[in-house]
């Protein structure tokens, strides 16, 4: 009981060191001591690394501006974040939109055409994507192919258009 109380209080019980070689309980206790020492040593080394890494991350995050933080993962996909911000400002929340992609975006990566509609869906919610929407985000597409009456409301220097078909 006394030993249990000491152990529960985190106080090392008084144990004869030679008993650590007794089979099986001594060996088991020696193993517990070694495992705890290994956990402790590894934990302390990685603790220093973790706090250092987290400090760097916090500094990097703090140095970013509002747009960079909000756009975050999108920066790897979109060529510029202004068109999506403009789209969010222009398209009413209860209307639908579609993203039409094409090869004509300057600075696009191999991810851009594949994932821009995914990212727009996330970024523009609660606006819904719809294949026959009047609002169009043209990501390097051919505007002539969008039909008559496509009014361009934003034209980005990279070749991204935001506009609306006449209803």
């Amino acid at each position: 009981m006394a030993r249990d109380r000491r152990a529960a209080a985190g106080v090392a019980p008084k144990t004869d060191v030679s008993s650590f070689l007794d089979w099986p309980h001594g060996i088991a206790r020696l193993g517990v001591a070694l495992c705890t020492a290994a956990a402790l040593a590894t934990g302390l080394v990685y603790f220093a690394k973790a706090v250092d890494r987290l400090g760097d991350t916090a500094c990097t995050n703090a140095a970013q501006n509002f747009d960079d933080r909000e756009f975050a993962g999108g920066n790897a996909l979109v060529v510029a974040n202004r068109p999506l911000y403009e789209a969010r400002a222009l398209i009413p929340e209860n209307e639908t939109y579609r993203v039409v992609t094409g090869p004509g975006v300057e600075g696009a990566t191999e991810l851009t055409a594949s994932f821009i509609d995914h990212y727009a869906r996330y970024f523009l919610m609660p606006r819904r994507p719809s294949p026959d929407a009047l609002w169009i985000i043209c990501y390097g597409c051919d505007p002539a192919g969008l039909g008559d009456g496509f009014e361009v409301l934003l034209e980005d220097e990279a070749g991204i258009l935001v506009g609306r078909l006449a209803g």
């Binding site: 249990d4 517990v32 933080r69």
Partner: protein
Amino acid sequence: MTVRSLLGLAALNLFAVGVGAGLLWGLRGWRSWWELARLAGLAYMLGVAGLGVVLSLLLVAGVPFSLATIVLTGLALAAAGIVVGFRLRRARPSLGSAPRRIGLVGAGLAALVIVYLEALFRAARLSGLYAFDAWSFWVPKAKAIYFFGGLDEQFFSELPNATYPPLVPTLEATAFHFMGSADVVTLHVQFWFFLAGFVAAVAGLLATRVPAVLLWSFALLALVSPRVVGRTLEPQADFTLDYLFALAALLVALWLIERQPWQLASATLFLGATMLTKREGQLLAACVIAAGLAASWREWRSAWPRLVLASACAIALALPWRAWYVSHDLTGEFPASGATGFLDNLDRAWPSLQSVLSSAFDAGLWTVVLPLVIAAIALAFIAGARVLPLFATLVYALALAGFTWGIWSFTELEVPIEQDEAINPVVRLTAGLIVLSAALAPLLLDAAWRGTDRPRRPEAG
């Protein structure tokens, strides 16, 4: 990323503590307010699991999702716990005696964990949403619930991984309501709360059972693993699943050696929440139950009916979501080749196992957590303990076998999987075992030290 968002999250998580405290009083009761303070982490995680499960069920039932729904649901859960507590004549708590001292080493290690959590909070505070899966479907699902007040049919069928369970998006949408906007930056802080709650829950459960040096050494070791440091704040379901699974497994382990009904009842809620968090939650829950059944085989007459009842209740909590997605013709939950389709691809067996083992034992991701757990299991067996090391062996072995089956069966995955850890699906799976180790390793080593896994004191709580 405003003070209002932070205050909103603080209010939400205090609310979760209150809901969980009500549930805990019904399930277990507490003798003193000090005891409640010790178990506040468990109360919080019970509140999170309870809110997550019931709000998910309400969404499936088509109940409009709003701040009022959330608050009323939480109040109903807390009230249910209090009513059960009165019916079971739980003693009214007193102030009680102050908690025992934890010793200098234990206090030092606990302080390091607090410093780590503070560093993690600063990283979470202004973090952008970079994780691909998070912006691709976890957070959009949450936004859909938040903006449209339910499981919007368009978004929930068009977004990737449509059959993934809704508990985490539901909790994220709850956070949006409390923040007052879909603030995806401050949302990272909610995942900090989950981690801190998990650590507090494990500490509260083990504080009276194992020496502080064991408890905090392994908590620190698991927390500072590079993968945990880098990914635990991502607003997706992976680590939330791991916390729920680890708490369920820890409570079943404690129930196996102490047989307190509240432990199995709490584990049931966590198992249900696990199954409602990710599809592999079903596999992990099955591993816990199967290991519990095997470890209690000597007392099967009393133990097995209770475990079967617990698993039936957990499945009942998860079934409505399955009914919802089946009724909406959504697929993708299981391998296209079926549960036994892996037999047609026997050549994938070894590379699948290789992928799982190389991920689980990758020191660059998890340091030495799993090797130390294996040593702890062996030492507990050597010292004469049986139930705990058998349970732990089976949970880890069954989970590794289950992960192997998953990789083997999903033939669209190229094996062996050698992708970068950021997109490696096996790494996500094995994280659960590392998180579990923070809870089980101290118990196993304590059993090895004492030469038995019988409880120190039956009333350890």
